[in-house]
Symmetry: C2
Subunit: 675 residues, 2 copies
Amino acid sequence: MKKYIFGQPIETQAAVLELPAEQNPVPIGTIHTDKNHWKMSIPLNQKDVVYGLGQTVRGINKRGWTYTSWASDDPEHSEDRHSLYGAHNFIIVDPVEDPEAKPFGLFIDNPGKVVFDIGDTKRNEIQIQSAPDLNLYLIEGNTSYEISQKFRKLIGQSYIAPKFAFGYGQSRWGYKTKDDFRDVLSNLKAIDVPVDMIYMDIDYMERFKDFTVNNQEFGNHFKEFVDEMKKEKIHLVPIIDAGVKVENGYSIYEEGKEKNYFCKMDDHTSDFIGAVWPGYSVFPDFLNHEASQWFGMNYKMMTDAGIDAFWNDMNEPALFYSETGMKNLKNYLAEFAADPELPRDCYDTFHLNDQVNSIKNSMKDYESFYHHMGDQWVSHDKVHNLYGYKMTQSASDAFKKLRPNERTLMYSRSSYIGAHRYGGIWTGDNKSWWSHLPLILHQLPALNMCGFLYTGCDLGGFGADATRDLVLRFMQIGIFTPLMRNHSALGTRDQEPYRFENPEDFSFLVKTRYRLIPYLYSEYMKAVQNNDLMFRPLSFDFPDDEIAREVEDQLLIGHEMMIAPVTEQNKTGRMVYLPEEMIQIRIKPTCQEVGRIILGEGWHYIQYPENQVIFFVRKDKTLPLVHIPAKRVDEIDYDNLEMVGYMDSEYELYDDDGISSDLDHCNASITIHKS
Amino acid sequence: MKKYIFGQPIETQAAVLELPAEQNPVPIGTIHTDKNHWKMSIPLNQKDVVYGLGQTVRGINKRGWTYTSWASDDPEHSEDRHSLYGAHNFIIVDPVEDPEAKPFGLFIDNPGKVVFDIGDTKRNEIQIQSAPDLNLYLIEGNTSYEISQKFRKLIGQSYIAPKFAFGYGQSRWGYKTKDDFRDVLSNLKAIDVPVDMIYMDIDYMERFKDFTVNNQEFGNHFKEFVDEMKKEKIHLVPIIDAGVKVENGYSIYEEGKEKNYFCKMDDHTSDFIGAVWPGYSVFPDFLNHEASQWFGMNYKMMTDAGIDAFWNDMNEPALFYSETGMKNLKNYLAEFAADPELPRDCYDTFHLNDQVNSIKNSMKDYESFYHHMGDQWVSHDKVHNLYGYKMTQSASDAFKKLRPNERTLMYSRSSYIGAHRYGGIWTGDNKSWWSHLPLILHQLPALNMCGFLYTGCDLGGFGADATRDLVLRFMQIGIFTPLMRNHSALGTRDQEPYRFENPEDFSFLVKTRYRLIPYLYSEYMKAVQNNDLMFRPLSFDFPDDEIAREVEDQLLIGHEMMIAPVTEQNKTGRMVYLPEEMIQIRIKPTCQEVGRIILGEGWHYIQYPENQVIFFVRKDKTLPLVHIPAKRVDEIDYDNLEMVGYMDSEYELYDDDGISSDLDHCNASITIHKS
């Protein structure tokens, strides 16, 4: 691994290995720099594959599009988007066409905007562009898989979630009252769906104020409610947003203001005022060490009440508008409304639309405020992509003090490489679209490459109306992802398992998840400790198989399993490609016995109904399945594991107490299970 | 076929066969009516397939979503949309699970809003809902295919396009000057792309006024420019929009106003004023026979100049806003801007956004204006879905007078069943999305079921930025669709074939199209004359094949051909399902000889590069391919046809002069070609 320094990079702490700065020129591609730009171009051959970029749209092979690393709160994850919530500036170029050439990885460590044109403008060229100050890491190796592991070593060990976080989580924007949460639990119980977590979206707060709870509902007895749920072995998972409401008398606001902990305008004195859910808000300066430490310690109010799980949101940061932007807009609207000549033609109305719609997440606003980093004032746009990362780190640092002995569940919407050491991420506000099933399959390995192992998508889709079959198909994927949460937006069709006909199908899928947890948790923990990918494209393990290279709707999970979910509506089966002989495992609701068939290398048509679970065990491997599904993760019966897969094979099962933060004192064990 | 009358239906002229009204109750499903509603529910079995609905999102099998027939100008054709531009109220229910049951078709002939909940709310039930006045047609038969043909007989023979309309068309919103059009032609010539049509989008007009041309560019010498292009054998295809600019001195406006030919407000006296491209506009009352005849005759200005091809647009009708809507909005904006308290929170800004965005295509506006039908004043919302249909008929009626001997190319954006007799449609403002490749494959057979045979999508995608590979993959489908047009929106990446690297690949695909035209035109004309589908799902021809039933990314074209295009990025091949033995035909740019391989029934992995053309010839069939591709349709060398497919097979080639409107006098011929 080599490090090249250009200009005066802002320290992101993305990498943890100290590498000496190379003095020789970068041996790959062509680099041009000037006062304002850094540009790198890399030639490609027609068949070469480019992996990486973490959370982006499109396929596992990133060729044929331009991706812009610029953390964005954009709920339309359609193919033509350039940016999502995270900025994951790592790519692997695999020159499969040239047997003499070796793959290499590149990490562009610049926390501002970075543009990756991967064979878009020119079909056989990568063009990368950013501001001129950055650290460039070049990772060489023999295979893409090896490079991904080296890169993971460079950026440090991934966050470790508590084991309960592998349970099922139920969520929906709109749960507000104690009875809302109680109903979720009793409804899930009624249809026999195991569950470990119930999520509290923004409505649990008092007028969307961080570290408050709705007075009317929870008043001073929030802890009692947390305890009530704890008795049911349910972890409540409240959301924490980045923006802090501007409100006199609100202690977080007053204290942060007093201590100059919020981002500042260009006078470096007055607070930048944007607007998010609570209306006008200020933004903790997470890039200021002291401010970050201060914000983090506010989680104490929650941890004192017994909360041990959080999600951090709106930390791109999302800006509905700014005080300045709204002032300008109102002036424009007043003029427009007063001018009897307007609109003269359709373009005047298009302009009106643009003005109103462009106050959201405006680049002008992002350029208008500042962070206090050490002795420097840095304008936000130069470090934009660090904000979510540093918010996550702020929480993680605090948890080390507040809950030193136990792991805390923490995941974030926005992230940058480095954040993977402090928390997981979810893939943001996806939609109830069939096309978002392949999307999560494409994102999982790319996120793993960048260290994000605790991850998953909103099952059933967040925006738009879900259908029963879509939710089931989402869940057939979600039962394999570390984060398994059904979540949806206010105003969309209800999509909890108990909202649909034949809820026993949902119950079956979640129960099967709980049977799989020993394997999933074991592979997750091994991936954390070995800097390995839990989710891999087929091509990582079968690099010479030309068909495997293009299969993007199947994934390897750990070292024993492959999945091949159905991702299209009204399909009862699909073609599956086996790069080697495997055993197909079919689990049916009606039958305690697990179906096993050996299938040879090549293509197979597989029937895959909505209410079954199918996976494939790799050649000469076996994996454990719990015999009777538990209702909670901590009730999983590890003494009755059934081994499924090849005879005379062994599986090394990792397990631990699932909660101790110190891995040396968590009763970690590796036990050999034979089939 | 049976007709059931409910209430007092508005006559749509969708059906051409006179059927007696049945007195017995409808033998299928359950119908409830009250003063305001008509509701029909039909039980489904789990495996039953539902076809139809023409231009909608999602798959060929329509189960699992709610479709609302309400002609809508909405450029986001994502899976969660309920309405697109057309209203095609025909479904076929195929009860494949019950061997005793027979399929049936239903046509809900109501020109207002009709909602088809196809197993969405309840997974095994169809729920159809509309206003209480309608004609219901029930079509019974032994197969879905047979039902579709019977239905086509009910609704009358499809529009016949001139043969030149099977050539390649180049389009882009933004061509304005004579030199813009000349450049298109010379650029296409330079890279050897055959072409028959160049499109004139809205900028050819004088300030978007129907039946005018840009004064500065074309002044009084438009005909000379049409002639210049004619010398090159290029047909210019101007757009005609529904809305007529409000402008004193503009003759179309003044004459229509004078004669009360525009839609009226509820006083039945003052014109309804909406806004589209030209700003404030009035809307010809195409449902008023006299007004419709008058508007149509205005095409004379164009046909006199030698124009023989048109596309009708904005005829849902699209409304950017109305005069009333804008007045209300300006009042709201003035209040919002003046109130120092606003916005109090994010919901106030969401409300502002809603107010601004909802002036477009507002239901309130659609409910506010009236048509004069016979002696009746009918509010627009009750007949909304007829507007595009009747605009197309208006043009078609005029062409019978203006160009009585020749066919005129005419297609529309909005349509209703019935419009298929007067013109084709294109599928509207799709996007440069990979997901819009399967979408057009799903729409083609559904549109054919409803009579729309001359159709196709914007190749390369209209909105969003295209990539080279996407445009090639679009064109690999487009070379088989009657309408083959590359079209894109102002502001998106240029996507004409000459904008990309290695334009010879584009040239090859278009040239291959020209080699296919004898077959495509023959099958199209036979489909017109036999009320047949040119594009069919595999299941129509192989109803008992359970795998074929779920294959939605392959289509049968005519009676000899099957296609199986690549619809995903970075794929060099795909699995193809053959419901019977077929011959794979592979046409390569580098090789004059056509590749032929016999493939057995079942699944095959097929390499399919971006610069080849692959199709499959069905068992014991053969089809003609022109030996040397022509530059123009009228130069196609019918004397040198190469037969590809099975030996000792025959093909009946239909041909005619391609232009005469009277099929009895167009030198029609059927010739037998043997392989």
